[in-house]
């Protein structure tokens, strides 16, 4: 495994049970889609490197939480050390969309004193015929909370890379601008090791960065 990365970001993936959190992560980290999967117990872990610019790799450590209510008391404990997260709902399940607000509240109250960057993800977008949540209303909700909105499908591999890379870029920009800083005793952002230190000089000059999206 390539050991050289600029930063490590810890991301947490939350949302109602059965919206497809584990499937999305598995598609992203393992490149495959599992037809059947057991409900997640507590939290599981995945990691992958993402190249956000040529030669600039970020290691993503992904905490895949259980959506089931009975695990809520323990998954709460896992929020604090995350710098970002994907908040998933299922576009074919209106209830899971209605719960987005609660998930956000729950997360925000448990990451204190740190803040967390969320991306709203409307999952299972391959099931267009069964759609219960329109893109417009999801975008509106995301906008109200200062999030971006992306629709994905783990089964058809739609926007999966895009969702993770987008969030990673957003966090990277905040790290670079100094809005997010590496802190002792906080695992959200870790600095990696780069033998030929190119990035540090760049960071000092703080050249304005164009959005690549």
């Amino acid at each position: 495994m390539e050991a050289i990365w600029l930063y490590q970001f810890r991301l947490i993936v939350i949302g109602d049970s059965t919206v497809g959190k584990s499937c999305l992560i598995r598609r992203f980290t393992e490149g495959r889609f599992a037809q059947v999967s057991d409900p997640t117990v507590g939290v599981d872990f995945f990691s992958r490197l993402v190249e956000i610019e040529p030669g600039k790799r970020i290691k993503l450590q992904i905490w895949d939480t259980a959506g089931q209510e009975r695990f809520r008391s323990i998954t709460r404990a896992y929020y604090r050390n995350s710098v970002g997260g994907l908040l998933l709902f299922d576009i074919t399940n209106r209830r899971s969309f209605q719960n987005v607000h609660d998930w956000l509240e729950e997360a925000r109250s448990h990451v204190q004193p740190h803040s967390i960057v969320f991306l709203l993800v409307g999952h299972k977008c391959d099931l267009e015929a069964q759609r219960q949540v329109t893109r417009q209303e999801a975008e509106k909700l995301a906008g109200a909370y200062g999030m971006r909105y992306i629709e994905t499908s783990a089964r058809d591999a739609i926007n999966v890379e895009h969702a993770f890379t987008e969030l990673t870029r957003e966090i990277f920009a905040l790290v670079r601008s100094g809005d997010i800083t590496i802190q002792e005793g906080w695992e959200g952002v870790k600095s990696g090791f780069v033998p030929n230190v190119v990035h540090s000089s760049e960071e000092v000059t703080k050249s304005d960065r164009r959005c690549l999206c």
């Binding site: 050991a3 117990v41 507590g42 990691s47 450590q61 008391s73 323990i74 090791f193 033998p195």
Partner: protein, 467 residues
């Protein structure tokens, strides 16, 4: 292993200005030891009888000859894993510092051992003397700690293993006679996952450095990085979070109680605590087990975990174990096809070593994953999990680690039979060291479950009284 590399490593080690934090948790002494030029010179002077074929054939333990055994007998009062730790400390001291000769060292160790168990005095006395003296002084103090733990292996052995495995290693590794951090030895202010994380980060740094300077160089097996790759670190961290939370919940419950209620609850919690400190490792049993490719391990695991709803995780662990077993038997077979008796191609000692380190890292990561899942299950279900099941599980896991390390070292001994001791010994030591670390991580993870069982007990109690 070029000479330039060895000398580079040596300069780094010898540098007095070396950042002490970078040495604070040295987990992979194999590389260092292997590169140490002093060790190389010393090993060549090693008397032949210390590694006679007779002892080699017995597997790992015998390999170190009488010299290792004298230390070992001191430690047999406790457990195999603790014993391993000690043997490695001695070996570590030898390879890193270039101490005279194993026989001399053995005499010295014996002498110090006989001088009684006054570890602290010994330590003070040896401070500031030669590196050999201070290392040995510390070893004897460790020995006494190990002896004092008696049969309460898990809790007692933990501290011993903790600092044998890490802190002590650094001191010896540093090889600095003026190094006086001895009194800080028992400080455990860092959590286990921090220790491992730091080790992993250092390994990554080293790897990154090696890649940039010498792209040709083959990757060395890094326990910490592999452990992380198998998500062991994350599971451990998550388990620590749950353990800490439960601990503070238990404390806050205790503050709300008074009088008889408090006394009664304390008694009940003490019973749980007891089961966490009464674990015994049955050594005899592990002596004569046949190589069954991990079937026995799977059976024991399944029996223990029946009804605990962690079958998926347990399956991962048994599969890992089976794969490891088949790796070992593959490595014991010659590489070339039958018939070619004259020149048998074998896996190189380095290959076997890398496989061993990887296997230990995987098994340990999977074990910790299992403990983490158990913690989550215990906290979210109202069913009662007996502490005794968890301690038996720990025993089974540690036994497996120990057996694996033996299999791999005997395989290593065969693979490296044509190589000199200075190449082979550090590899064997490395396997035993990581096996000892693996066992101590597993036992630490087991201990993390204690507050979880306590709070689960308190919750069940509350539910019961409501009804």
């Amino acid at each position: 292993m070029s000479d330039s590399e060895a000398s580079a490593a040596a300069t780094q080690d010898a540098s007095p200005s070396a950042d002490s934090t970078s040495l604070s948790t040295h987990l992979a002494p194999t590389r260092k030891a292997r590169r140490s030029p002093e060790a190389r010179a010393e090993a060549e002077e090693k008397p032949a009888e210390t590694c006679s074929p007779a002892t080699i054939s017995q597997g790992g333990w015998g390999y170190w000859g009488s010299w290792g055994k004298s230390i070992l007998t001191t430690a047999t009062a406790t457990v195999a894993t603790v014993g391993q730790g000690l043997t490695q400390v001695i070996e570590k001291a030898e390879t890193t510092l270039g101490i005279p000769s194993p026989t001399e060292l053995s005499a010295q160790a014996e002498e110090e051992r006989q001088q009684g168990e006054a570890g602290d005095e010994k330590q003070a006395e040896s401070d500031g003397s030669s590196p050999v003296g201070s290392a040995m002084g510390m070893l004897s103090s460790l020995t006494s700690v190990v002896q004092n733990t008696g049969k309460t292996v898990v809790s007692g052995g933990l501290d011993a293993l903790e600092f044998i495995g890490k802190k002590t290693m650094d001191m010896i590794a540093e090889g600095d006679p003026g190094f006086k951090k001895t009194k800080g030895l028992m400080n455990r202010n860092a959590t286990l996952s921090q220790v491992l994380r730091e080790a992993k980060e250092r390994e990554e740094l080293q790897t990154a450095g090696a890649e940039s300077s010498d792209p040709e160089k083959k990757a060395v097996a890094h326990y910490g990085m592999l452990f992380d790759e198998f998500q062991g670190l994350s599971h451990l961290e998550a388990l620590e979070i749950l353990s800490r939370e439960s601990e503070s919940k238990v404390k806050s419950v205790l503050t709300t109680l008074s009088g008889d209620q408090l006394v009664q609850l304390r008694e009940e919690l003490d019973q749980i605590k007891d089961s966490f400190s009464m674990v015994e490792f049955d050594e005899e049993e592990e002596e004569e087990t046949e190589d069954d490719g991990g079937a026995e391990f799977e059976k024991e695991l399944t029996e223990l975990l029946e009804g605990l709803h962690v079958s998926a995780t347990a399956d991962k662990l048994s599969t890992a174990c089976k794969n490891i077993c088949s790796t070992v038997s593959d490595m014991n077979k010659p590489l070339n096809k039958e018939g070619d008796e004259e020149e048998t191609l074998r896996h190189s000692a380095e290959e076997v070593h890398a496989a061993a380190i990887r296997s230990l890292a995987e098994l340990t990561a999977r074990s910790i994953e299992l403990f983490h899942k158990l913690a989550e299950i215990i906290l979210t279900s109202s069913s009662c999990v007996e502490a005794s099941i968890l301690s038996q599980l720990t025993v089974v896991l540690c036994k497996e680690i120990s057996q694996l390390s033996k299999k791999f070292t005997s395989c290593l001994t065969t693979a490296g039979s044509s190589q000199k001791g200075d190449v082979l010994n550090p590899l064997i030591t490395g396997v035993f060291l990581e096996a000892s670390n693996s066992a101590s991580y597993t036992q630490d993870a087991f201990q993390l479950l204690m507050p979880i069982l306590e709070i689960s007990h308190i919750q069940r109690r509350a539910e019961f009284s409501e009804q």
